[in-house]
Symmetry: C2
Subunit: 432 residues, 2 copies
Amino acid sequence: MSTPKRVVIVGGGFAGLACAQKLANDKRLEVTLIDRRNHHLFQPLLYQVATASLAAPDIARSLRGILSKARNIRVVLDEAASIDTKKREVRSADAVYPYDYLLLATGARSSFFGKDEWEEHTVGLKTLDDAQAIRRQVLTALERAERCDDGEERRRLMTIVIVGGGPTGVELAGAFSDLVRRALRSDFRSIDPARLRILLVQGGDRILKPYSPDLSEWAKRRLESLGVEVCLHTRVDEIEAGRVHLDSGEWIEAETIIWAAGVRATKLTADLPGEKDNAGRVLVNPDLSVPGHREVFVAGDIAHVADEDGKEVPGLAPAAEQMGHHIAKVIKEDLRLEKTQYAGRKDEFRPAFRYFDKGIMAIIGKNCAVVEAGAFKLRGYPAWLMWLLIHLLFLIGFRNKLVVLLQWAWAYVVDKPGARVITGTGKPEPVR
Amino acid sequence: MSTPKRVVIVGGGFAGLACAQKLANDKRLEVTLIDRRNHHLFQPLLYQVATASLAAPDIARSLRGILSKARNIRVVLDEAASIDTKKREVRSADAVYPYDYLLLATGARSSFFGKDEWEEHTVGLKTLDDAQAIRRQVLTALERAERCDDGEERRRLMTIVIVGGGPTGVELAGAFSDLVRRALRSDFRSIDPARLRILLVQGGDRILKPYSPDLSEWAKRRLESLGVEVCLHTRVDEIEAGRVHLDSGEWIEAETIIWAAGVRATKLTADLPGEKDNAGRVLVNPDLSVPGHREVFVAGDIAHVADEDGKEVPGLAPAAEQMGHHIAKVIKEDLRLEKTQYAGRKDEFRPAFRYFDKGIMAIIGKNCAVVEAGAFKLRGYPAWLMWLLIHLLFLIGFRNKLVVLLQWAWAYVVDKPGARVITGTGKPEPVR
């Protein structure tokens, strides 16, 4: 047998993991999966960790654990620092990973539209640590408000500004409203947590832009009925520690400022040749390879892919997963053709990626969601049931599924999510 | 009605919480519970968070949540800095809490036998953050070992020294052995996690000193069958970063050094008058008040209490809980007597604390425990079943109970604990 081809996958998100799983135990391949974290994250539920409904391990699973039976896959906890497409190598601070095939799937990071200094005054929602930081900050702010005698400072502590009216911003706003209006209802003595001010700031003319305008409008009214202030046509033009300036001219004093607005591709894409879009995403070939480098693939949030009808493939978990599967298929087909008379012409036979749109859904507080798939639209309680079912089916790992279901069921009955635990701080911060 | 008496409780552990719960909704009292963390911790299961079996929120519950229906209790996230028993005030960095009755129940901290510099090279197991730090360190060390080519360094990364052969040390050692021998069995490619070296260092002539010698001996053999090296009659006489010197003359190179040896009372006890024992614990009156200050009580791990037959009450959760209940009873009886002809003589009627010993139990790896209660002894699988039942019954909060049961059941069947998630580090540490 010939020496196995080396596949290097950078990133254990939906795209990277899906590809790895399809390549598992293929003896023609030696796969190395590099991630700087030890776990695959079920990102669609990250906002529930941030809002104290779920514990961090409920929505994450060790990459090694998932791939333990794939004897041809090595998982490495490392951070890829650069890619040399000429030498066909990925490099980290202290290691070199040579490849025959490379899949870059490192995902998106927050984009501050050129105002990188805003990063230190805001919290994002990309990782488990981010989610725990948001939870810690909001719960600690309420604790400080409870102890605070100064009315103005108390109002500042009890204000959350969420920048960005996409699904993340909407789900966070709804979940925070639930948290303070239901779960924490009778927990405090000096403050009324229900008076937590939640502002959702959106530059465009509606929230949940990927949905139809009527669902956007419905979601906005629903959020408002939950006490969320939805500010459309409003942009943030300055962020300082503890306050936000809106282009309407107003300063909002807010202890917690959550950045859920723009995203851009992670830095590593800069090492790839070829064109990038405004968000730094790589314009890939229809087979998801990089122009001029048929052995290099890009998938997930860092790939700019146009669908057959020219529509852009969205940055969603199912899309990333489908790309990962597609790339595994391409690699396997390559290997097969190499043994045939078409070996020299194998690039010609590469199939184009086709996105199968399963639809989109977002949660808006307890018992309520919006769902849209093609012409199919659903909202309110039935949409929420559908969301629940689908998320339980797709949550990775049976254990997590059962545990999460049970937690949700219990929290649903008693209105008390269970993860209201502040960790990561040795001491309480003094009241300012 | 007369003005309510102010009760200040410092510490939301088993003693403080038990007392607060007994005082709930007593209109004669205004209770303030001060804790520097927002949660009550079920400490007996903390080692399961450290060894990746449970998530942090599974064994913790928000103090506010537990006491939300107690309208006369205010929970404050603050750190008590000093006590003025003359002015009857507890002070923090920015607040003063006057009291009519005080309960100090701040628990134990690690004692390094005068070698405080050892603290920075070791991890303890007192808080959720400690447990997550241990988990992170051990999992990260395995990740680094997987990537390490230097045999000696790899052995150092794959060595854990646990100082202290009490229940904490024994339970950690057994659980780590399970983790690497079962859960992580097929996760790695370059290393065999089962070769993780676990040393349990114990100064005395047996582990689990509170148990009978035959159970200690049995537990030791059981740990050894799990691959743990139990070093009796061995003391640590030096600890540096990444290595430990034993008084047998040997240096042990170990990435992870866990301190589970001595404990001493938290610092605040220094502000109380009267005698302390070697561990800084307050020698209290039989009613658990402080000599000369009948309005000041001490309970839990910082109280030195002799039982009726002169035996010291152990530092266990049930003992702390019983103390908390007792103090609540004393306070309520005080208030009752004040309305009677005995008002001036109420100190004479204070009942003495009586410890009801329910027995002790410790887990030694999967399916195995030791239990001892008076003349009753049990070991092995039946002891483990008993442990399981009792811990499920006593775990605070119904939701946690169900979730934990389910996690255990699942982990039991598949041998894969689910919390193998490293959080709290942005980047992997480079291999040394």
